[in-house]
Assembly symmetry: C2
Homo-oligomer: 229 residues x 2
C-alpha cells in the first residue's frame, strides 16, 4: 500500500469495492462507510460510486494490485462518460501490480522486456489471446500471466505452455506466485516450462515465464539485464 493510498483512505467518506478487496484493507479503516459488492458486479460498483460522488461525497473505489492494470480505472472512466459526468474530479492512484509483486517474491525475473497477458476470455476472444501468446513467445518476451486459470477454462494455460515450448527450452524457468505479498496466504514455486502445469494454478496465481536468458541463481529466478560483471 502506498503512502498516497493511506492518506486518501483517511479522507474519504465511502469505500466501494469487491468484498474480497475490502477485506484486505479492513485493518486500515476507521470511520468510512463500506459499500461491498460481489464478483462480476464491476458496473454496479462504478454506478454506485458515481452516484455518491455526484452527491458531493468523497468516494474511493478499491481494486487489487494496480487499479490501472486490468482494474477498475478504465470502467470508472467509461461509466463517467456514459452518465455525462466525465468532468467529475477523479484521481487514479497506481499501485504495485501483480507482475511486480510476484517478481519480487521470485527474485528478479522482469529485468528485461516483458508482456503482461490475461488468459481470461470473459471479455476477450480466445483467438486474440492465443495470437498474442504466440507472438510474445516468438519475440522472447518474459511473460507475466494474469488470470491463468478458472473452472470455466482449465485448458488455456496448457495451450500457452505448448505454444511457448515451440520457441523456448523445456528448462526455461517458470515462477508461480499465489496471492503475492499477502503475508501467510502467499506461496511461491519456481519450476520449468516443461513442468509448471503439473503444479496448482488458479485465478489467484500469477505465472511468470522466463525468456531465453532467464536462469536460476541460488533460490532466485533472474533474467540478466546484460551487465558484464
Amino acid at each position: 500500500m502506498t503512502a498516497r493510498v493511506q492518506s486518501v483512505l483517511n479522507e474519504v467518506k465511502f469505500i466501494v469495492g469487491y468484498k474480497t478487496y475490502i477485506n484486505l484493507i479492513r485493518p486500515f479503516l476507521t470511520h468510512q462507510e463500506i459499500v461491498a459488492t460481489g464478483m462480476r458486479q464491476e458496473i454496479d460498483r462504478c454506478r454506485e460510486a458515481i452516484r455518491l460522488a455526484a452527491e458531493g461525497h468523497k468516494v474511493a473505489i478499491v481494486s487489487s494490485g494496480d487499479a490501472g492494470v486490468y482494474g477498475m480505472a478504465g470502467i470508472i472512466i467509461e461509466c463517467l462518460e456514459q452518465e455525462g459526468l466525465i468532468n467529475l474530479p477523479l484521481e487514479i492512484i497506481p499501485g504495485v501490480t501483480a507482475a511486480s509483486a510476484s517478481a519480487s517474491m521470485l527474485g528478479a525475473p522482469l529485468m528485461h522486456d516483458f508482456a503482461v497477458i490475461s488468459l481470461s476470455d470473459l471479455l476477450t476472444p480466445w483467438e486474440v489471446i492465443e495470437k498474442r501468446v504466440r507472438l510474445a513467445a516468438e519475440a522472447d518476451f518474459i511473460f507475466a500471466i494474469y488470470n491463468p486459470k478458472s473452472n470455466g477454462r482449465p485448458q488455456h494455460i496448457e495451450t500457452v505452455r505448448k505454444m511457448v515450448l515451440d520457441f523456448r527450452s523445456p528448462d526455461t524457468p517458470v515462477g508461480l506466485v499465489r496471492e503475492a505479498l499477502r503475508g501467510e496466504e502467499s506461496s511461491v514455486q519456481i519450476t520449468t516450462l516443461e513442468d509448471f502445469t503439473n503444479h496448482p494454478i488458479d485465478m489467484l496465481t500469477t505465472v511468470i515465464i522466463g525468456n531465453s536468458q532467464t536462469r536460476i541463481v541460488g533460490p532466485y529466478m533472474v533474467t540478466p539485464r546484460g551487465y558484464k560483471l
Copy 2:
C-alpha cells in the same frame, strides 16, 4: 512509496544508490548514512552494498519506480552469486513501476494486454529490440516504452513509430509522461501515433502507445476492457 519501503528505510544503517534517486527520498531520511554514486555505476553500487551487508550492517539499495523492472534487483543477485554470497539475506521490495505511474496520469490505457519494452541498446542488441517491437505491434499489445530516447540514439523512437504504423491507425492515442508522479516535475501529453515524435521525449519520458481499441474519453486515454455498459 509503499508502507514497506517506509519501514525498511527506518531500519537500515546505509542507503546506497544513484544520486538522483537518493535525492528523491532525501526528505524521508534521518539517521542513515548515504553512499551515492553516479550513472552507469550499477556494479560498483552493488559491490559496496554487499561489502557493507557482509560486515553485518542493514543496507538498502535504492532504485527508481520498481527495482524489479529494469532496476537493481537483478544485478544485486548476480553480484551476490559472483561473490559466493548468494545466501546473504535479501528482500526485494516492489514498487510502482513507470508503466503504472504513467498510466495513472493518462487515465486507464493499460486495461488490456501490454508489452513493456526498453529502447536502450546499451546492453541489448538493437535487432532484438526491433524484433520485439514489430511482433508486439502485430499482436496489438499496448506499449509501455521505457528509455525511449537518449543523445546516443535519437532515431530509435521514430523507427518504433513507423513500425507500429504498419499495424495501427495514425489516430491511435499515444501518451507521453515525463517524471511520472514526481509532483511539479511531472508533465503529461496525450497525442497520436502520427504525431507523437514531434513532442519532446527524453530518457525520463515513458511512452504509452494504445492498441487498436484505445480511445480518448474526455481528458483521459482509455483502453476498454470490454465491459458492456
